[in-house]
Symmetry: D2
Subunit: 271 residues, 4 copies
């Protein structure tokens, strides 16, 4: 059904928790477009076993556990992936985010700083760790592509998003900083996609999320982008058609980010 | 050779002056990806006749002259295009820009205001005219895609770019403004691509352009993007893989826009 | 009552229509801070005579009519201002904006292009004309300061703001472009202030304005900024305390521009 | 000599290392403008004793040591400051930054992650700790003002700036996030100033810093802003003239941030 856009390409997908997740949909699309895949997630997330269904659908892709805060795990992941692929990796999807303070219900003004440190490590510096592991092993092909998922809370405040806003801002900065170095050395390009709020299992944890999804829907001229649409967009960024796009934060949100207000919101406000 | 990414889609390409131009390369790629095309340019530009070669290569695409400051010409263009296609248009490339003050060697601080009015009309408000013509005729399919080419001078000053900086800022604003309305009514998406300086016939007219191209090359981690690469990027934006990207200015510049300085530039500065 | 922040400085204030207008409030504050002033507005606006009250309050400041689309008027204005001051001008406030299409009730997608040309000329290119007149006459002191008022619709769409969004985007680009040249030659700095929606006589003309003001109020952590607060901010930009701030768009909006959503808006959406 | 702009206001200044530092210059100006001050720095920095000279010049301002990663120290600081002032604090300057990886000569791609954690904690999350301490104690007056110093590397890559780019991006996000909450509760405003590279003792540690300062000078229409000019700008932000400016990153850089290239740089590139 695909267009062979990723024919011959090999990629690692982080974060395919269950079939609602963006990483899951992206793995399906990438496989459909001709890519070979390696799937990975945190050992604790893999225990649920869901990912094996995805692996089967994607030509029995290997599932390699990796805690993204462990350099050993990441080295093992890239080593095994390269063995499996018989060569370098062409693309990577980083769909990783977790906020301990959100999970424990701590308000932004009352955060636990140790938890915050872990949030930043897991959600943002993990991208640096992944890239640095690949960099040290020279594991990404020239003109390879790395995409990380982010959210517009990195630019504007959405109060319930809490410390994840700061984590995403840090993630986007790592994208630029490492994007520079990896671009100069290997023409590897690194970008973030700033996606509409999406009804994934991960998203559901956030307080007031449903109300917020409906606000975003009303505030987006095209409506909210779905996980499948986000997967499609990832495919373009992994393909050779976007070789000079790098160090950017790309909004994929139906126009939300450049809309100040819509008629629909104004009408609701007047009620 | 293509991937049928635009199979069944119909598009209008503005501004294919000669084989170096981005519009020309985009027409070739779009045809290669399965699209049907209508080509157009200003009557005076068509007189050179170059475009007929392109039309032949693209399955004898009709060439319909249109002065983008004339609503009659634009109406005629869309009418004939829809007749030719037997239906609505799926994508449009707006690659139009002309600065009378640059051409006549007038410094920004000495501009002729009548020429400036024409520059803004041709280079920026022409996008409004194109969209408004399509809007009135309901000529663009739901989820259709419009792309206009712009330059980073709309965000930061490049002194020799002169009044074209202002024209591009206006163009990008029209993109957002009309993008809102066309998004709400027909899910049509409208974006600009902010392209590396490119050695086209149009570009060559700008003073100090060669020196500037080499500066941009040194300042871009991936180097400058070529016209062919820009064409590739346009294809992704015309395809169904980017349906929720709208009202944006998308940099396609090898990382130039998010690079403050490179080692290569610092070394040159120290000479 | 002031702090002599502008002691010895001489400024021209455009656009003081009546006592609600930002320019009017700024003139009062600037006088209070020790500045000498020249007031100006379009001849048709001056006919109302209101401005004479302001002139009296500001030490009998001369009122010199000027149509900002007329280079002769602007030359006359700067000539007379310099005669009155016995020297160069230190600061200029550009508070000028008028949309013919808004006034005539034309939707953005149905604009009259001749009216649009006038809107752009009056609301945006007028800044170029003012600066270029001063530039030619070398009428602004080194390290002088020029401020123009703008609105966030230049960055994000507010549908009812119509063509003024494009005009403001153009205005902000002129600010950067001329800011570069005037900065290099005379260290003159040029900025825009992006102000909260403000209940001025000019603002009242915009459709749905009251509803919008209350939305902006709810969406701003500090609430909307008043005309008096904007005047205060202008004073800082005219003073010597901000000598290295230039070519920027500065938000003065109680946090609106960097807020994605507030609790108050979410609650209203849930009703 | 001042204008009594801060008459009656009380402020805490972090980071006045020696007389070259921006915090030092800001303390002098603030005192000159009528403010009462409390000075603070890390215990290790205070050992040098320089700060006592500043304290004397500023009306024998108390010097209270505080490690910004210690909540106890910060609580002690605010407690003693409020005792000294006999009331709440009106403004705070956060001029704190330290990169362990830069100091130890670790390239960005080879960073030590524990050092990075400390860099982020000291340089960015310290702002959260300061604000949260004040928040818990309700120690900042309504309409109080907090300013933190940052650098444009948070937006664009300057390779030698290394992990501090990421730290500054995080700092700017904390500014927005906490700015929202403190704005809603107490109308407290929080902003960052993105300052030109400045020849301070702190800055001198960065590799290639002198070359970079001269590049920035050439790239800024007004030239680089000095520490004294930055101090002036801080004064405006602490004053009541900027009450509706919040959650922003304000460039104070002579136009560097909105300049793509200057004639001076182009000429150097052509050598």
């Amino acid at each position: 059904m695909g267009n062979n856009l990723l024919k011959g390409k090999k990629g690692i997908i982080f974060g395919a928790l269950d079939e609602k997740s963006i990483a899951w949909r992206t793995a399906l699309k990438a496989y459909d477009e001709g890519a070979q895949l390696v799937l990975t997630n945190a050992p604790v997330a893999l225990r649920m076993g869901e990912i094996n269904k995805l692996a089967e659908t994607c030509g029995n892709a290997p599932v390699i556990p990796a805690d993204v805060t462990s350099m050993d795990d990441l080295k093992n992941l890239f080593t095994k992936a390269m063995e499996h692929f018989g060569g370098k990796v062409d693309f990577v999807l980083h769909s990783i985010g977790m906020s301990l303070n959100v999970r424990k219900g701590k308000h932004y003004t009352e955060m636990d700083y140790l938890w915050n440190q872990k949030t930043l490590d897991i959600s943002a510096m993990s991208l640096h760790r992944v890239l640095r592991t690949a960099w040290d092993m020279d594991a990404i092909s020239d003109w390879g592509s790395v995409v990380a998922l982010t959210y517009i809370a990195a630019q504007r405040v959405f109060p319930d998003y809490n410390e994840m806003a700061d984590a995403k801002a840090l993630l986007e900065s790592v994208t630029r900083s490492f994007g520079y170095h990896y671009g100069v050395r290997n023409k590897v390009r690194i970008n973030t996609i700033s996606q509409s709020p999406t009804k994934t299992t991960a998203g559901s944890g956030v307080k007031g999320f449903d109300g917020f999804i409906s606000y975003a829907e009303k505030m987006s001229p095209l409506g909210n982008a779905s996980a499948d649409d986000c997967a499609n967009y990832c495919i373009t960024l992994f393909s050779d058609l976007t070789k000079f796009v790098t160090m950017q934060n790309l909004f994929h949100d139906g126009g939300f980010s450049f809309t100040g207000v819509t008629q629909a919101v104004i009408e609701q406000m007047e009620k």
